[in-house]
């Protein structure tokens, strides 16, 4: 490649990399908050605002007291200024007179916001066959298709509603997979979580549509702490999708969510995330700290949990969606595309804990680093003694775009079982000049060629996403990264 062409490529890359964050608007709506800071009174206030039963408040306070004794972990390969937990609002909700019964009663401004984000809460979404729970700041504003799902016995509602209406299920499963004292951010979440989605699929039911939660941070200086809990009873199946965006603000906002998945005998849960929180500007100012604990348990035999994530947003992403393979013959899967640009940092990966016999896990992770970002894959494959014939295959590839970014791989393999078979592969490379040349030669511009190569690189992961989201993810990737070979 000659000099001119190279600098031309460089320009294309720069221009594409610089494309704007399109979801950065704010909605001017009256918000109800609790005072900033964190103490037991704030937690009581949050709990009271949500009309929670006593046991829930106790559970929160216990988690809070535990949290006080914990230290913020600093082992990940990310750097950020210390977070002042007292200088944040732990509850912010769009003001509503009462919980709306139908969409007609929802503030049109909210509907408009979600329409602008491309998340239609209107019933015509029926055509797309997706039920949506829309969460703005601390509360769920609307859940669509509840009635249709109810007919099948499926419960899909906001977490607050679940606490009120299905306390026995919440009590049984909350903290089941991620106990409130699991880690620093999980404990914080347990203390102050405000809403989230709850989903229960009864025995033998195959959920007929994709369930989806859309998270939106709107208010300034708030943290978002939601909890998602999905329980699939024997033989049930559910595919679940989570999406998120936030306005562009100069200060960093903390998002510390907890997701718990429980799969009973023969059940299958497919959890997909398209994470597009505001990543901060080119100078690394602002953006969301996405510190999330996600974990699923394959509780009984033949169950399956599959995580698919496309991570393009957030100033810092730090999460390891994990699967505990407890039941015999259970399967865990993790497919991930993580893209970092500018000054974004990501330390993400998975944990596959093999406990049962004949358990299988697959890990496919594709990291792309551009700009001055740092992207780390960190993963654990643990095979406990007695996990006979456990099988794991991991593939982690990194793609570097430009010479100022970094790619890191930290796989941990801990094998205590002789009959286990564990394979791990990782590669790091850049987009080949020969690949670009090949495309150019056939009249495909450098820009499109890069898109082609990156999409090809991520294909293994995209094919795991529900169709319409795969399309969205591809577009998102193209915008976050347009034109990238150095």
């Amino acid at each position: 490649m000659n000099k001119d062409q190279q600098s031309n490529d460089q320009q294309i890359i720069e221009s594409r990399i610089k494309s704007e964050y399109k979801w950065g608007f704010t909605t001017d709506i009256e918000t109800e908050t609790v005072p900033s800071g964190l103490n037991e009174d704030i937690i009581r206030m949050i709990s009271a605002k949500k009309n929670e039963p006593e046991w829930m408040l106790e559970w929160r306070l216990k988690a809070y007291r535990h949290w006080l004794k914990m230290a913020e972990p600093h082992w990940p390969n990310v750097h950020y200024d210390a977070i002042d937990y007292q200088d944040a609002y732990y509850y912010a909700a769009p003001k509503q007179e009462k919980r709306p019964e139908s969409l007609d009663e929802v503030d049109p401004k909210l509907i408009e916001t979600f329409n602008k984000l491309g998340i239609s809460l209107e019933e015509q979404k029926l055509l797309a066959g997706v039920a949506v729970d829309a969460v703005m700041d601390s509360v769920s504003v609307a859940t669509t298709f509840k009635d249709e799902l109810r007919k099948l016995g499926i419960i899909f509602c906001s977490f607050s509603e679940a606490i009120r209406e299905h306390p026995e299920l919440v009590k049984k499963y909350i903290g089941f997979v991620v106990p409130p004292n699991d880690n620093f951010f999980a404990a914080l979440n347990a203390a102050v979580f405000t809403d989230g989605s709850f989903c229960y699929i009864p025995k033998g039911v195959r959920c007929p549509m994709e369930l989806s939660t859309y998270f939106r941070i709107n208010a300034a200086k708030t943290g978002q702490f939601e909890r998602t809990l999905i329980v699939a009873e024997e033989g049930a199946y559910v595919s679940y999708l989570e999406g998120c965006t936030a306005p562009m603000r100069d200060e960093n906002q903390l998002h510390a969510a907890v997701v718990e998945l429980v799969a009973h005998k023969n059940a299958q849960i497919k959890y997909s995330t398209v994470q597009n929180w505001y990543p901060g500007d080119e100078q690394g100012k602002g953006g969301i700290y996405n510190f999330v604990t996600k974990r699923g348990v394959c509780l009984e035999e033949n169950s399956k949990i599959s995580w698919t994530q496309v991570e393009t947003g957030s100033a810092i992403t730090w999460k390891y969606p994990s699967v505990i393979l407890q039941g015999d013959n259970s399967i865990g899967e993790f497919y991930s595309v993580a893209l970092t640009n500018n000054l974004q940092q990501a330390d993400t990966g998975t944990k596959m804990i093999h406990v049962g016999k004949n358990t299988r896990s697959t890990i496919v992770s594709k990291g792309i680093s551009a700009g001055r970002s740092n992207n780390s894959y960190r993963g654990l494959v643990k095979v406990h003694k007695g996990a006979l014939n456990a099988r794991n295959f991991s593939q982690c590839d990194s793609l570097l775009i430009g010479d100022k970014c970094g790619a890191h791989t930290f796989p941990y393999l801990e094998i205590q079982e002789k009959s286990a078979k564990v394979e791990h592969e990782a590669t790091t490379s850049k987009i080949g000049e020969d690949q670009i040349f090949y495309c150019n030669q056939r009249g495909i511009s450098t820009e499109d060629a890069i898109g082609l190569v990156v999409n090809g690189y991520c294909k293994e992961v995209f094919k795991e996403l529900p169709m319409e989201f795969a399309v969205e993810a591809q577009k998102l990737l193209a915008i976050s990264l347009e034109g990238s070979v150095g």
Binding site: W75, K385, S398, L400, I401, G402, D403, K404, C405, G406, A407, H408, T409, F410, P411, Y412, L413, E414, I415, Q416, E417, K418, S419, A420, K421, V422, E423, H424, E425, A426, T427, T428, S429, K430, G486
Partner: protein, 442 residues
Amino acid sequence: MKEFSNNVDIKDWYISHFQAFENSLNGSSKAPFHQIRRSAIAKFADLGFPGRRDEEWKYTNLSPLLKHQFPVAARPTSLPAETVRQFVFKGLAENLLVFVNGRYSRELSNYRAPANGVIVDSLGNALKNRPEVIDRYLAKYAPFEKESFVALNTAFAVDGAFIYAPDNVAVEQPVHLLYISDASAGSHFASPRNLIVAGRNSQVKIVESYHGLGENPYFNNVVTEAAVNENARVDHIRIQDERLNAYHVYSLETHQQQNSVYWMVNVDMGGALVRNNLTLTLDAENCEGHLLGFYMANGKQHIDNHTAIDHAKPNCFSNELYKGILGGKAKGVFNGKIFVRRDAQKTNAYQNNKALLLSEEATINSKPQLEIFADDVKCSHGATVGQLDNEALFYLRSRGIPQEQANSILQYAFASEVFGHITIDSVREHLEEIIEERFARL
């Protein structure tokens, strides 16, 4: 908490012996190197022994080592020549440096340096006679400021091997460094220190081997530094076959100049608790670094290999292959880092590690790790853990080969991928014989 206080006590034990050691040095405590020893012991006092919370020591529990109070090895009485002979590799009897409890033994050694300026001597002698080379190279690469075992070695380093190949000289014959720890009269700890300097356009081949005698436990804390100048080539083979109650910590630091080549083949068979820290630094363009390792552990052995290949400059190539076989209740640890620094474009770095688990209670913890800061690179790593291939076993069995023999044939095949890279035929053959016999015992 108990372990922690233990660490402190035992740290003080080693520090308290430094004074007596210093006095035993007589006049040489004025030498510049002794000032380095002093800063090393001060640094060791700061660092202490690493604990399990230290990421680099996550899988290796040092407490079995730390519960011993090993005295500093005294200058030993000599060993009978026939005792030594059993450890000498075929064809290397003429090129032999023998060390007993970390100290050079002139009577047992047999080496006549070729006249063209090649120096093969003890470090003890070099400290006295060759201050200019020592000042330039010794303790310049192994980071005693960061690594507590390197600090401990540096503080107590008095002897070891010194190999110097001047510019434009190819040393034809391999040098055999034979370390024997004689613990028949009592326990000890030794700090062998080796320095290898390969001048421009030179070539040198080194075989290091470690063995033990007697029933008492002992602790060998070795540091080897290698400075490899432009266009030089070093072939380095290390064979560790200590007693099964020995503690062995080995740190290698290499520093490569332009167009140089370093081949390291590292074999571990003995020791109760073994830790290797092997670091190759490719600090100029067009270097090649090769790191091949094989370990086998049985019973309650614990073998930990931490390797790092540091690509500091562009256009270098590195290849790492590490294989291990674990039986009994043995524990294996592998950590392989590849660093590619910001400017090290056009780096090609490959790493592969494979482990075989042969028994119910053997475990392996493996952590291959890539840290890449340059974009125009090709790096990959692979890791597998498994058992012997059932189909291959079936193939052999169906041809009338008994189970046990079929097992050892496959293990042998597994190991030979590493041994095939040993360029000194006599060493490879000798090693293959030992390994075959050991496999039968696994």
